[in-house]
Subunit: 390 residues, 2 copies
């Protein structure tokens, strides 16, 4: 186990009716806020009305900025920063999924500086402060509601880049599983895939003696596998959604990587696919992750076998551990397909003709390697993408 | 799943050498503190020297109060409160196990009021504030390093009572598994039993649809079961201690009871045993918990069977679930014995002649019931203690 420092201050308010507490939670920090959301589905579901009623009751006034799209854009972040500065707002309230929350985090960092917040995403300088952020989660997926991360896409060149800093842990996040009832099945499948990916990125590590967090990760993965079919069959299954929603937060709130070093290659590669083709992040991960696994599993067959046995109930075969490991990967693919997702590039409508371009973008034309479990360079990315074609 | 609010702000600094950061972590809150510890073992191990060197380096001065005993006493808490008030100290630094930390929490609450802090333990009034607390943990057991709880014994009548409040979450806790290397085997076994008990108190619940936290609890129990023999065999096994120490914190930091309602009868009954006989808390739990289980398991045989299968690897027998459940309880007893602990009152040298007295004390002479999984009254306590005799 590696040494670590862990502190996650996000206050979680979980369950039915918790949206009605947003006013009082917000007022602790500011009475003059930015209300940030996406395409307007919160107005159809009635969430917008509940949130604004609660804000009013607590004496909180707000400026609105809707229109966040999946793979949230820098241009809207800039708009948000302008609004916050102009009206001297004190908190960004994100009502939506990971894209809205990531956008809110970018605005929170951008509002307290005089230069472009994109600088941080390019690795130029580090944020020193951020406005407080609150969230009301509507999509269990990204885990941004209790994480240190934000991923933004710059339309100028379609660059997708991340910032991680403890400054942007939300102060509070409100999680009501009912908010997930109206999600389209495809989005449900993508969200669950994203959560699984957060767990698998952490699981495949070279750090020895991580038995406890191994088991916590396995427990979380099993929870998703058991409950995914339940919510796909009955989108109003509160109890199953509650398991998935809480699992999605814990998957990404940094507890499950205490003492470990995660890999994150699959996320890096997927970011380039969704950057070029604008596919859903989860749909891309369902394709990239198994391909990455086929490329790396021989690096630590025992770890893959442990995962196959404990997470996928594959029978141990001490005489053929490699087959056990491969069966685990097959079960992951079968799980994705059972949720209606494809597991090959062709399922996303992607032909092989831009593999070189993706490999270039991932690796800054071959000058950058990434991945911790196995280091991945330009040639490796190409091999992984070829495995994703087969 | 029940609605819940969860926020644990304690900053964990985990691993080798982390004690050396105590000065800078302390100085964030105060430069004038109470250094609280137990019987002086920290001077033998060199921990005292490292801590005071770090404090000095950070410009922090301190007043010392050692002498905390297991089942920490109110009289010492009073001494601490006097010292803090007299010298206007700003933080209580607990260096030790759960008893030292619990004592520090009591002092932290008592230092900011004009009446006796024992009032809170009697349920008279609620704390409104507390001084900040920092800890350096030396015994993985009580989980007090990241919990809301403190248990104090009033020597006047040997009453052992608890307070729970978010005000006493430590601001930071330093966990270096090396600190556990010098613990006597008996104390190791008691500590692991205490951690197991924290998990089992949470596990046995009537709240339906708690699948995710079920699995997290099972994961944590399995981690303890696997690593306990390793540290008993080799007390300097850092890697095994790291798993146990982190599991011990997570077991009791309120994450694993999110959405659940725990039972806590076994703790309540054990408190009376250790109050009367001054036995070690863990040793008492190793006796009380299986007896409680034998008394209640028919209330929810499926839950006990799930526990037996997933935690103790008992084979499922769909034709005799009750036998599966009972086998789980037997394996728990075997686990305790494998660590050198007894599982009957007689193993603690306790004869049956004071069972009535214990039942009286537990239930305020029959006027109080407790327990959530199964409600326990005076007669039930007697039955449980009789099962602990067999």
């Amino acid at each position: 186990m590696e040494n670590f420092v862990f502190q996650n201050p996000t206050k979680i308010l979980f369950g039915r009716g918790m949206e009605d507490r947003v006013g009082e939670e917000t007022a602790v920090y500011s009475k003059n806020i930015l209300l940030h959301f996406g395409g307007g589905s919160i107005k159809k579901t009635g969430l917008y009305d509940r949130v604004t009623a609660s804000l009013k009751k607590a004496g909180v006034s707000w400026i609105e900025l809707g229109g966040v799209k999946p793979n949230p854009r820098l241009s809207l972040v800039h708009e948000g920063v302008e609004l916050v500065k102009k009206h001297n707002l004190g908190l960004i309230l994100a009502v939506g999924g990971g894209s809205v929350i990531d956008s809110a985090k970018a605005i929170a960092m951008g509002a307290v500086i005089d230069h472009d917040v994109w600088d941080f995403y390019l690795g130029n300088g580090e944020p020193k402060a951020a406005l407080p952020i609150g969230t009301i989660l509507t999509i269990p997926a990204a885990g941004s509601e209790a994480s240190t991360g934000t991923v933004i896409t710059n339309e100028d060149g379609w660059l997708k880049r991340a910032v991680n800093t403890e400054l942007i842990y939300p102060r509070f996040s409100i999680l009501n599983p009912e908010q997930a009832f109206t999600l389209p099945k495809f989005q449900v499948a993508c969200g669950i895939t994203d959560i699984m990916a957060h767990l698998m990125e952490r699981y495949f590590t070279n750090v020895p003696h991580v038995a406890f967090t191994d088991r916590l990760l396995e427990a979380t993965m099993k929870t998703l596998i058991v409950h995914a079919p339940l919510v796909l069959e009955d989108p109003k299954n509160y109890d199953a959604w509650a398991e998935i929603m809480w699992a999605g937060t814990i998957a990404h709130n940094n507890l499950l990587n205490t003492g470990r070093i995660g890999d994150w290659s699959s996320h890096d590669i997927e970011h380039e696919i969704s950057g070029i083709y604008d596919v859903a992040h989860g749909a891309g991960l369902a394709v990239v992750f198994p391909a990455w696994m086929k490329f790396v599993y021989k690096h630590d067959i025992n770890r893959f076998a442990q995962w196959a046995i404990r997470v996928w109930n594959v029978d141990m075969d001490v005489f053929d551990t490699e087959r056990v490991a491969r069966t685990g990967i097959e079960r992951l693919e079968a799980f994705s397909r059972s949720m209606g997702l494809g597991t090959r590039l062709s399922d996303l409508g992607i032909k092989g003709d831009r593999i070189d371009e993706m490999a270039d973008k991932c690796t800054d034309k071959g000058t950058r390697t990434f991945g911790s479990f196995v280091s991945v360079d330009r040639e490796s990315v190409k091999k992984i993408l070829l495995l994703a074609e087969k």
